[in-house]
Symmetry: C2
Subunit: 625 residues, 2 copies
């Protein structure tokens, strides 16, 4: 090893994991190498401060960006930004729990558990074939096999295995067949060992469900953070990377494929399934995620009019993508609707049978992008809105993801009562906590309908002093004290700032404006809606009363607002298990009309209106409804 | 570089090429690394002595095998066997021209030049597509393209290039389409740049012909020795390697793919064609060659009843085999008939239209395996015979391939007159020379019909003394002096031995017995044949009178015996250029009846009879007929 290649030790506390990296390596990469994925909502620009780490020993010269973002005092305490700081010599580094992306983050993998159609396209056929004698010798091995099967062609990989497999078990073999193609051949008889995996490729989270193809039984579920998040939290930053960097697409594709392969490793390890017996993989994600996954540049999704590369489902084989299952395994990528409304939304419709709802029904999947589908009077219309990352805790001063330490529930009940994920000291505010705080402040009158936090002396006369005292003025603006430094993990107080409310209003307004436009387009009023289905990880933790109070959802009774879980995963599983569900998904894509809000004359006006918080409480319903 | 890894210089004379190799490397490998492929008919066992080299300087300890094969005197002169000798220190080595496989070997690349059908399945479509506006934005790029083409599906590789290609040239693109699939997309308009290569995969020689798909014009032809020959000269030794060595198939497949890739390199370099514009490759070879090429074990071809893995044509893509053209290029492997009658024979029928001959017609391709097809009264019957490597110069004491130094013509005309390839001093006897010598000795009465070389005193009274004196007795057997040491390249005399005649009788008998069995099966006598077509490299250099004299071919007039050249190459080109020719090839395979001689009751008797050389001269015809 030459002097230029000398690697330096970086030790991570409190885990004690260590890695060796070249001088100049960014700490974010060193951490990733040790298995730690850190928050980087700003895409590594050094502005958001979410990837905070602390140097315990060793030299690590701060950059100008770090000094500007963190300030001299924190720099002096050893704090650095993992996305900026570089390894100069051996280091010992502490990663605060709040900087970690994974760990105890609440990843939603449950589905609604509806009955499944089980009619997979992959089947195993045990066959006993005539052995060649002096007389049947004129038949080639391929003909011998194909004569025993419905009309099929042999894929070359199966043909390569055929001569030996036939002669290993006295011409008793099992053929694996899908869509008129023989994918594989094994010696001996085994009708049972056929598996598939349904994947939800989220911008943030990857979820895989391993199922037994013959019975439809779930054998294991695994989830992990999409490794692309280390290149930016939202789809726009990833599109920009593909547009601006020659190898941007390749890097992002490799990241998600690596994440999928690790999930596959975990699933086969958990279940003992032979990965050679995994014959189909189904993938559902938004348009950007699906295109990057397939290696198709999403650049055209980053410019008007947001043109996707494809709409019909794509078919590949595992070997085309280097996925570690049977190389001939079928890969099915969901059909997609258009703009940012992708395969995950199609999977959501498949999962919920939205188009078959007896009354007008709305499916809302809230994330960095919100996707909304309305089914009414035989029509399906869909749109997407850029809700921004506020619900993921980004662009919120004390925001964080829904991981340990996040305030996920806020109640103003004489004083401030909070609930913290993971039974930890509070470290920040996640999306549901943000909505709660705003809804409660609105209720008690400390927040007005324009979204302004009132000064302590402006607040209604009846406001309890314990709450009024938390409205603290600073440079002409008001902030609200959520948690005193005495109880927080950092020892610093946690506030809700005026600009956090503005971020919430933007996200909230975008979703509600999208809903309103779809309703108007269908000639419906909000009260005509028979049901709203809330999908996705965030949707499942939201409190319906609060979502109604801040105007994100129309004021229909809570019992008509239902949590439907990870519909992308469940829809993908349905499609994996049944050829009819595949046809259904493809039919849906042909039926759905895509409303592009950027082209919609009324959108800006609706958006402006929806930014305002409702003055009237729509009336509380029981959350248990 | 560590001491263990120290590489040693090996210099080759007279070329002056040098390579660096690790100690212990076999000279055969070192030579291959320098670009020299040597004869190894015995598969590197050290018995045949054909890979002779001479050490000019440096130490190279002879092995016991070399001492046994070469004898102490030649060892002392520095001669070694390249397949046995190992590098111990820096060496300078001379490779005699006669040990070289390539160099001036007569490789046949001509075809019969019949008119071609040009109707390729690959076409380029220049298209001007509607650009997305606010209104046409709902159409995905894939739909935009497919709407402008006949019904097609997009391969993922083309879809990956599509979004960028569309936007690089203002939505003017060229789509490359084959068999209802879009293989590739390029920005801009170009209807012309589509190429294909037709390959003949011989056991000994690889020939590739680069053609322009739209016009059918030949742009270049290249040929090289099949690198598999370094593992043994005939298909049986290669089948054995696949059966006996765990990585035997992989090694042999890699060797032929490497040879094909080098031919492709040569063809694109010669012509300046962009290898990305090569969209189809067609391959014709015998069953063993085709199966190894595809990565399908030929092991079952090495045991009764010689079952091939497939009969129908195989379709792959270039990327499946790592061939260096457009990764999506179609790969078509010829359908094959059965046993050892493979795609090259099918290509031969396609090239010659044998099945359409107005009179009974025979196609004979003479090589290590002889393939024979009879078309008569609407039936096509085919068989193969193991002619052995005698015609390639192997198992003949002073035998050699038809390269520089080979005696390729022998005439007994008062004295012995010989013709040597490459205007060199004689070094050995090639297949045509062997046939000539036998036919002439038979004619003058020095060889009897049992194949015995007569003693000088047994020969007919009229035999010229100059010839009689060359019948030399040694240990009870007679050998015939072909060339005196004074004129040979080695300074040693060259003889035709009694056992060489026996090898010829075996090869000769096998071919003639095959012909006779096909004729009998069809109820025909030899004189019913309207035409015999002689195909392949060896067939084209044979002298028809001599082939008739020794009984290899039936005694029909020479003008009815035609040389048709490399029909495998020409048939492969026809199939490359036309979808109808592909159908024709596949129809032929369904029509041809394969006669397995190993199952045929009359074969041994016929073989025994055909081993005898005809007592009567069938009467000479003009070779120019």
């Amino acid at each position: 090893m030459t002097a230029a290649g000398k690697e330096l030790r970086v030790l991570f506390e409190p885990s004690g994991r260590k890695v060796f990296v070249l001088p100049g390596t960014v700490l974010l990469e060193a951490a990733a190498q040790a298995g730690f994925i850190l928050h980087t909502p700003c895409g590594g620009a050094g502005h958001c401060g979410k990837c905070l780490v602390r140097i315990r020993s060793g030299r690590c010269t701060p950059s100008a960006t770090e000094e500007a973002t963190l300030g001299a005092a924190r720099i002096a305490e050893g704090f650095r930004l993992a996305c900026q700081a570089r390894v100069e010599g051996p280091l010992t580094i502490e990663i605060p729990e709040t900087s970690l992306f994974q760990s105890q983050q609440q990843i939603l993998t449950a589905d609604s558990g509806e009955p499944l159609q089980v009619h997979p396209r992959v089947a195993r056929h045990p066959l006993t074939l005539p052995s060649p004698t002096h007389g049947a010798g004129e038949i080639s091995d391929a003909e011998r096999l194909l004569a025993a099967l419905p009309p099929c062609r042999l894929r070359i990989a199966a043909l390569r295995r055929l001569p030996l497999a036939l002669r290993q078990a006295d011409f008793r073999v099992t053929a694996v067949v899908a869509d008129g193609e023989v994918l594989d051949i094994e010696p001996g008889h085994d009708a049972d060992s056929a598996y598939g995996v349904a994947f939800d490729i989220g911008s943030t989270t990857l979820v895989g469900t391993l199922v037994h193809l013959r019975t439809g039984a779930d054998l294991a579920v695994a989830a992990r953070v999409n490794p692309q998040t280390s290149f930016g939290d939202d789809v726009l930053s990833r599109i920009a990377k593909c547009r601006n960097e020659p190898d941007g697409l390749a890097v992002l594709q490799a990241a998600v494929l690596d994440g999928i392969n690790r999930l596959l490793d975990e699933l086969v390890k958990k279940t003992g399934v032979d990965r050679r017996h995994v014959y189909e993989l189904v993938f559902a994600g938004n348009t950007t995620m699906q295109q990057i996954f397939c290696g198709i540049s999403p650049a055209a999704l980053g410019e008007l009019p947001f043109v996707p590369a494809f709409r019909e489902a794509l078919e590949m084989h595992a070997a085309d993508l280097g996925l570690r299952v049977n190389p001939e395994a079928k890969v099915y990528v969901f059909p997609q609707i258009g703009g940012f409304v992708g395969g995950d939304t199609v999977a959501g419709i498949v999962a919920t049978r939205l188009d078959r709802a007896p009354t007008p029904a709305l499916l809302v999947d809230i994330g960095t992008n919100g996707e909304i589908v309305l089914a009414a009077h035989g029509r399906l219309t869909a749109t997407s809105v850029a809700a921004g990352p506020a619900f993921e805790g980004a662009r919120i001063v004390n925001g964080m993801r829904a991981t340990a330490g996040a305030i996920e529930k806020v109640l103003l009940d004489g004083d401030v009562r909070i609930n913290v994920i993971g039974n930890a000291r509070p470290a920040g505010l996640c999306g549901t906590g943000l909505i709660d705080a705003a809804a409660e402040l609105l209720r008690v009158g400390a927040l007005d309908s324009t979204g302004r936090l009132l000064h302590a002396n402006e607040a209604p006369a009846g406001l309890e002093p314990a709450i009024r005292n938390r409205l603290i003025e600073e440079q002409g603006e008001v902030k609200f004290l959520l948690a005193d430094g005495a109880i927080t993990s950092s020892g610093q107080p946690l506030y809700l700032y005026q600009r956090d409310i503005r971020e919430l209003q933007l996200a909230n307004g975008a979703i509600r404006a999208g809903i309103n436009i779809l309703l108007q387009d269908a000639g419906l009023r909000p009260e005509d809606l028979g049901v709203i289905l809330l999908a996705g990880a965030f949707g499942n933790f939201i409190r319906r009363n609060h979502a109604r109070r801040i105007g994100m959802l129309p004021p229909i009774p809570c019992r008509q607002i239902r949590f439907v879980g990870n519909t992308a995963s469940f829809g993908a599983k349905r499609v994996l298990l049944s050829v009819e569900e595949k046809k259904y998904a493809e039919e849906i894509v042909r039926r759905v009309e895509h409303l592009d809000l950027s082209l919609h004359a009324a959108f800006l006006e609706e958006f402006g209106r929806a930014m305002l918080l409702p003055e009237q409480d729509p009336g509380e319903c029981a959350e248990s409804d």
